[in-house]
Symmetry: C2
């Protein structure tokens, strides 16, 4: 069989503000691979089917000397993120041809995975028959983020009130549904009327467009809030502190407003952290896997399959579009969990 092109999305240069496709990232087609003869040296050959696109990727486009929770992308190397791949060939007993694997995959169409690296992947059995894209969304990192963060930090009682931001995003939309199942009043915000309609359809009691309604005023009317699910930070974080009840729990899963550099919004009421006895917890989903991942896989795919937890995907076909899709998720233009369909089975 003749070699085929092995397309890759490479990290090219540091962005200043929002990343720019063609500058920050470059789609490269100069490499080829012979899928039948490429030597595996004891590893596996994987075809990338699905890649997840998430706001936190912006944080990895940084000077490698700056430390942060996720490693920086390296110049001229492919980006990477959670994805689902198909095993085309295997020289390891733990994987066989036709297996679907989940884990961090580089942004390239085919990967020869060395033996040691292969072991970090999970084989998905998918006995509920969900589409593979679901495994980077509602049944992948975003769903796990909502599930783990809520179980670890929310400490809710029925009748309490939660404020969910980025509520039309894959994490926020899931949090709304978990919170409703727990008997809470849910206030949720998003950045377009279309998104607001979506979060209302998920059961949010109060849904508003933060671009046309003032968050502080909505919280003054509908709060106080006992739980704050934060995906944005900045001025919204300040409004949440102002509307928090005594002992409120703040679950800090992202501060997207601070990701693109520039001057951050200055929060003026941190003093209330003491007086209101707030519990503010930042977290990274992987740190909570040990405590919550098995419960997640036992319950979530089934709830999703039964329609008890709804989700929305925004699927783009073709790795060459990934650079633009990253900008879309950073500016809120995506309509559901953003996924790149890199290859078909």
């Amino acid at each position: 069989m003749a070699p085929v092109i092995n397309g890759r999305l490479l990290f090219n240069q540091l962005p200043n503000g929002l990343p720019e496709p063609g500058k920050t990232t470059v789609y490269d087609t100069c490499e080829t691979i012979d899928l039948e003869t490429a030597p595996l040296n004891g590893g596996i050959l994987v075809k990338t089917l699905v890649l997840s696109i998430d706001p936190y990727l912006r944080g990895r486009m940084r000077d490698p000397s700056i430390k942060s929770y996720a490693p920086p992308f390296l110049p001229s190397q492919p980006l990477d993120n959670y994805g689902v791949g198909l095993v085309l060939r295997s020289e390891r007993s733990s994987f066989k041809q036709g297996d679907h694997i989940y884990g961090r995959l580089p942004f390239q169409q085919y990967i020869v995975m060395p033996a040691a690296a292969a072991e970090q992947y999970t084989v998905l059995n998918n006995d509920t028959g969900l589409p593979w894209t679901a495994y980077v969304g509602i049944c992948g990192m975003p769903g796990q983020t909502a599930h783990h963060g809520w179980r670890e930090f929310s400490k809710v009682k029925a009748g309490e009130t939660v404020f969910v931001t980025s509520a039309a995003g894959p994490v926020g939309a899931t949090v709304i549904q978990i919170a409703k199942a727990d008997g809470l009043k849910v206030i949720a915000s998003a950045g377009s009327d279309e998104k607001v309609a979506f979060i209302k359809s998920l059961g949010a009691d109060v849904a508003f467009n933060y671009k046309t309604e003032n968050t502080r005023e909505v919280l003054a009317r509908e709060g106080p809030i006992d739980v704050y699910w934060d995906g944005v930070g900045g001025e919204t974080f300040e409004a949440a502190i102002g509307a928090a009840s005594v002992g409120a729990r703040f679950i800090e899963c992202g501060m997207i407003t601070a990701y693109n550099g520039g001057e951050p919004y200055y929060v003026k009421n941190l003093l209330y952290i003491v007086g209101k006895q707030l519990r503010i917890s930042g977290f990274i989903v992987t740190s909570l896997h040990q405590a919550h991942l098995s419960h997640f896989y036992e319950t979530f795919p089934k709830l999703v399959k039964e329609g008890k937890i709804k989700y929305k995907e925004d699927v783009t076909k073709g790795l060459e579009h990934a650079g633009h899709v990253i900008v879309d998720v950073l500016t809120g233009r995506n309509k559901g969990k953003s996924v790149i369909l890199v290859g078909e089975e």
Copy 2:
């Protein structure tokens, strides 16, 4: 017996920035009381012996329409705070003449306490024979704050590092000693060389004067920090976020730099709350009494009496000086736990 003057420190007008004795507070001697004949109507007559002076009193000098954790002082009424009083006469079976009681007392020399109000006081047995002033300091609210906050939130392992601010204050100085007993490396800051010498004498491994050494640089050299004991907020809070290890615990017991109004310092690195997975907990000591107060009284007075926990008092004689002493604690001029000796036994 002739009536005696019953001196009182009254709240007179809202301060703008630091309170001003004679304006914000006024010492008043126009009331008298006959200690033998004043009717008790089923209550008790108390002579105030000791009153505590603490930074949080500034927060109570506010417009009553502003809500906060501690109630506002009311115009023309005496201030109040934790203190120790001597029961001169009692018409309640739960108190007898000669009892020493602990609780919130008004800033006045003698109080006829109505029956219902009397029940909020604790009779101190003081079987260790500590001076009564100790019961508003190391064995009172500041000691309890250190003890409760540490037990509830620090979650330390021996070998970790803590950064203690306001470290020469009665809370911070106690935290240093608890942390050393738990096997931690202690970095501690205070605002004068004399205070630095004091905190070194308590066992701090690294003690520095934040007015002459840069907090950020000290933490870069001596950190990262696993626990941050915050009594100051603002720029120091920012430095602590910068020097925090992943999963660090921030115990927020006060943000004194924000108490006196004006523009707060703007913390620029709140984004790291997520990436560093910080646990930030604000608290008010009274909320933790249920979980920790009995352990406190079982252990602390004994440790203090045996010299295993050291403390330092700054005692001022005479209620008429209380207005100035409040300014001293807000500006860091006190040398140890600030106490007013209102009356002798």
